[in-house]
């Protein structure tokens, strides 16, 4: 039956040719490793966020008077509402975590180097957008946690010289966080950012297909990048392993491992995305003590606190982000093996340790 359907489609639209070109004939380097499957895991996470988000929209009301009640209704009254909401909340944390791992593997294997500079830049932009979609979604439940975390986050824009105060007001839709903030954050969260992210994922995959997948710098004699900017050249891997079925199996394995971890958090650590303030409706006249941002913003939060002036703190972060975003244009040596790049490796490890230390400090302070 399936074979007949396949033949029916093949006769009409040439499915066989696509399968040959994109799946069985799409060859990957023989020494490819599991880290390359994180992109597929991220695609699955994004799809799951979209689906659970759509489901939540059925009962969620983006109105300051009703938002908290509607979320409580989803959690306590709607059958399996708790599951859908937890999948969405835990999924958003997981998406940031896996995205960071994906970028770290790219960083350590030197895959961001020429000719893949644009893959890195689109990936980095995606990280920023995913943080943006997480931040805007954070306000949706209209709890004390959402309200005050958004107040603190939007307030950091006030450090921008001259335009600062106007920028904060523009972000909030008023002088303080209030019903207009919920309206614009919800529109960004549920309509604007998902479309922009999906488009950028498309661009990211398009670039991947045009440049060809990079070979890991391990287990081979030559680890330097053979790219020479003379003319366009697709980097194929003759004699490599086919994407289907070989690497699809690796993708499915990684996705299964991801689901095991994800569902373990959903079922055994459902409090992970929440603090007690998440269960109290927003009160604009009562600031709770110790409002902290999400774990992935803790380092930024602590950096802002360390520097005596907010502008300096913000500038340091902006400089660090710009440096990372433009890394492929700064680090132009062709060598990709991490152990053959000791200064780079030291800097990466120091950077990770600094980020962890700042996050822990931010959490404890």
């Amino acid at each position: 039956m399936l074979k007949r359907l396949y033949r029916w489609l093949d006769l009409r639209i040439g499915v066989g040719e696509i399968v040959e070109k994109e799946l069985t004939g799409y060859l990957l380097p023989r020494n490819i490793n599991e880290w390359y499957s994180l992109g597929s895991v991220l695609l699955v996470i994004f799809a799951l966020q979209v689906v659970t988000g759509m489901l939540l929209m059925i009962y969620y009301v983006p109105d300051a008077d009703k938002a908290f009640k509607s979320v409580t209704f989803i959690m306590n009254e709607v059958p399996f509402g708790w599951l859908i909401r937890l999948c969405h909340a835990v999924g958003s944390n997981m998406m940031v975590a896996v995205l960071i791992l994906h970028m770290l593997s790219t960083l350590l294997m030197g895959s961001y180097k020429a000719p893949r500079e644009l893959n890195w830049v689109t990936g980095f932009t995606l990280l920023a957008l995913v943080q943006g979609i997480s931040l805007t979604g954070y306000l949706a439940p209209w709890s004390q946690l959402s309200f005050w975390a958004t107040t603190v986050a939007t307030n950091s824009a006030s450090a921008v010289p001259v335009l600062g105060p106007y920028l904060v007001e523009f972000l909030r839709g008023g002088k303080l966080v209030g019903p207009p903030t919920l309206g614009r954050f919800f529109a960004l969260h549920a309509a604007v950012l998902p479309v922009v992210i999906a488009a950028l994922i498309g661009a990211h995959l398009f670039l991947l297909k045009r440049t060809g997948i990079s070979a890991p710098p391990f287990g081979r004699e030559g680890t330097a990048n053979p790219f020479e900017a003379q003319q366009y050249h697709y980097q194929g891997h003759p004699g490599g392993i086919p994407f289907f079925p070989n690497y699809v199996l690796q993708d499915l394995t990684s996705i299964s491992v991801y689901f095991a971890i994800f569902l373990a958090v959903v079922f055994f650590w459902p409090g992970m995305p929440f603090t007690p303030d998440a269960f109290v409706p927003a009160d604009p006249f009562k600031t709770p003590a110790h409002i902290k941002p999400e774990w992935y913003f803790l380092a930024n939060y602590q950096t802002l606190k360390i520097f005596p002036s907010e502008l300096l703190g913000l500038s340091v972060q902006a400089a660090a982000m710009t440096f990372l975003a433009l890394l492929p244009f700064i680090d132009r040596s062709p060598e990709r093996h991490p152990l053959k790049r000791p200064i780079f490796l030291t800097l990466v490890i120091a950077g990770i340790l600094l980020w962890i230390a700042l996050s822990v400090w931010g959490h404890l302070s």
């Binding site: 489901l55 059925i58 709607v78 059958p79 399996f80 509402g81 599951l83 859908i84």
Partner: protein, 139 residues
């Protein structure tokens, strides 16, 4: 041959596991989307008899749907579903003619729900009521 059997066995296992996963994921989504059972159903509604004058009609929500209570000119009380049996629009009470008119396609019903004209295929459903101590209990 042995290899073939192994392959088939693994195929069946994978298909079974995929089907189980699909059911495990699909069931919560179905329950999440399904209308909540028992919403407003089975409940009784009490309306004070004094609220309704002779020849008047009172529309209200009953068992998750729309219903109407009328007191005919002869003083008889009738409770009916207000949902037109043609395409589900809500009928309107025409006091002057003492009958119901569905504004969607012109269906007409008498005070006891019988079809007087237009496309409705069935009479309006009757809802039982009891009158005790000046109160009308619907349902």
């Amino acid at each position: 041959m042995e290899n073939e059997g192994r392959r088939r066995f693994l195929g069946v296992c994978v298909a079974g596991a995929t089907a189980a996963a699909a059911v495990a994921a699909g069931y919560p989504v179905f329950r999440y989307l399904a209308p909540r059972s028992g919403q407003g159903g089975g409940a009784k509604l009490v309306i004070p008899a004094g609220e309704l004058k002779e020849g008047d009609a009172k529309f209200f929500e009953f068992a998750g749907s729309s219903a109407v209570l009328i007191k005919t000119k002869s003083g008889e009380l009738v409770a009916l579903s207000a949902v037109c049996t043609h395409l589900g629009c809500i009928v309107q009470w025409v006091k002057e003619k003492q009958q119901f008119l569905c504004p969607c396609h012109g269906g007409q019903f008498s005070t006891d729900g019988t079809v007087l004209g237009g496309p409705p295929p069935r009479p309006l459903a009757k809802i039982p009521l009891t009158v005790t101590e000046g109160n009308i209990t619907i349902g």
